[in-house]
Symmetry: none
Subunit: 217 residues, 2 copies
Amino acid sequence: MNQPKRYLDIVLDIRKMINQENIRPGDRIPSERELAERLKVGRSTIREALRSLELLGLIETRRGEGTFLSDHRNHQLVEVLSTFILQDNQSQEDVQETRKIHELSAIRSICQNDATSQLSVWDSFSKCLTDEEGFLRSDFIRELMVLSGNRLSLKIWILLEQYSGHPYKGRISSDETMMIKNILAAIRQQDADKAAAALTGWIDWLQKENEENDHNS
Amino acid sequence: MNQPKRYLDIVLDIRKMINQENIRPGDRIPSERELAERLKVGRSTIREALRSLELLGLIETRRGEGTFLSDHRNHQLVEVLSTFILQDNQSQEDVQETRKIHELSAIRSICQNDATSQLSVWDSFSKCLTDEEGFLRSDFIRELMVLSGNRLSLKIWILLEQYSGHPYKGRISSDETMMIKNILAAIRQQDADKAAAALTGWIDWLQKENEENDHNS
DNA sequence: TTTTTGAAAGTGGTCTGACCACTTATGTTC
DNA sequence: GAACATAAGTGGTCAGACCACTTTCAAAAA
């Protein structure tokens, strides 16, 4: 009777327990030893279930303190999945392009925000531009991703940015200031197509820049 | 100094091992006992890492046979996650939206292909439409993702599609045939904006459809 | 010879008990 | 009352032991 995985039942039992005892995100769940006793299984089985849930970002464990129900917004699974997905996808082009996909979608999304959100967006960016000292390209793009409001997309972008060799390292040059101002202007006008085009221009320009640097070095 | 989780390192070690030894989906990976010896950790630690990967659908374990690398198409991830996470609106919306991002980018990319590629695209889709029996919505969208040529984007999409509860299950109804024809027409005209708009229409229509079904059941 | 059988080896599944490292609560001392 | 030391509780890890199951392969049977 191929007895199907005990730890999977445990996962469901734990979920049921969380429901019944009204455990909320951030609360502590019973200790491993207590769970083992209550569910009448070994502690190792409990741990296998918990580790799975932890990898999914559903719970959080702190040594010496306990196990806590997470507010599963972490999307931690992306990090692990990505290492598996990207393993055979050495095609750098795919990574670059996918990163661009998320960036362009983000700026389009921002353009479609309502006016009040629009205002805060403007604030964030113009503050960045005036602060000439130490403001990096990656900060600008990251701000873009954050403001789009899609946290999953942000997480994916962070990973892709790392995997594609940090294309946005370095400070914003005076040449680029104009491009960025064009991007901001398009956002202000809520013109998604124009903003996307302007951003594409900057990204491609940067990429060419990076390639030249790679050649020289 | 909070020693970072050992089993997470193991996950990465296993990934590296898979890479180095060129283990392909379907192949067997070393036994738990061998992994424990090679990585110099206890078997229980190995198991915690493997259980996590199993829940993610990245590997498959068969008692008495061994552990096998899966072609990440497994369902249990969705089942477990949905029981935990379905309540959380924000993250669900993020997943849906991110999936849509990849779909729209794919269709835009296809529209920008050259004429010869365009032709084969047309072939693939029209063959799907004439084959009325058993042609599923997911097949159409998947074909879209494949034809875009970005394999990384395709892989991410597959995961998101599972993670968001298989929104494209079911056959294409006669109502939808018209929408799809509009999409194909836009592709033929290489009009990216039009194609994206048409696809958005279909996706949103489908989403509304799914929500109604959920209410009824 | 070919087929059947069955014991052995190998694998994942589970349990137990023992430490370790860390945090929190408790109580003691100053 | 404050500072410190101790104990209790918790997750992290390990080793060893069975169990259930599959595969293998050599011995026995046909």
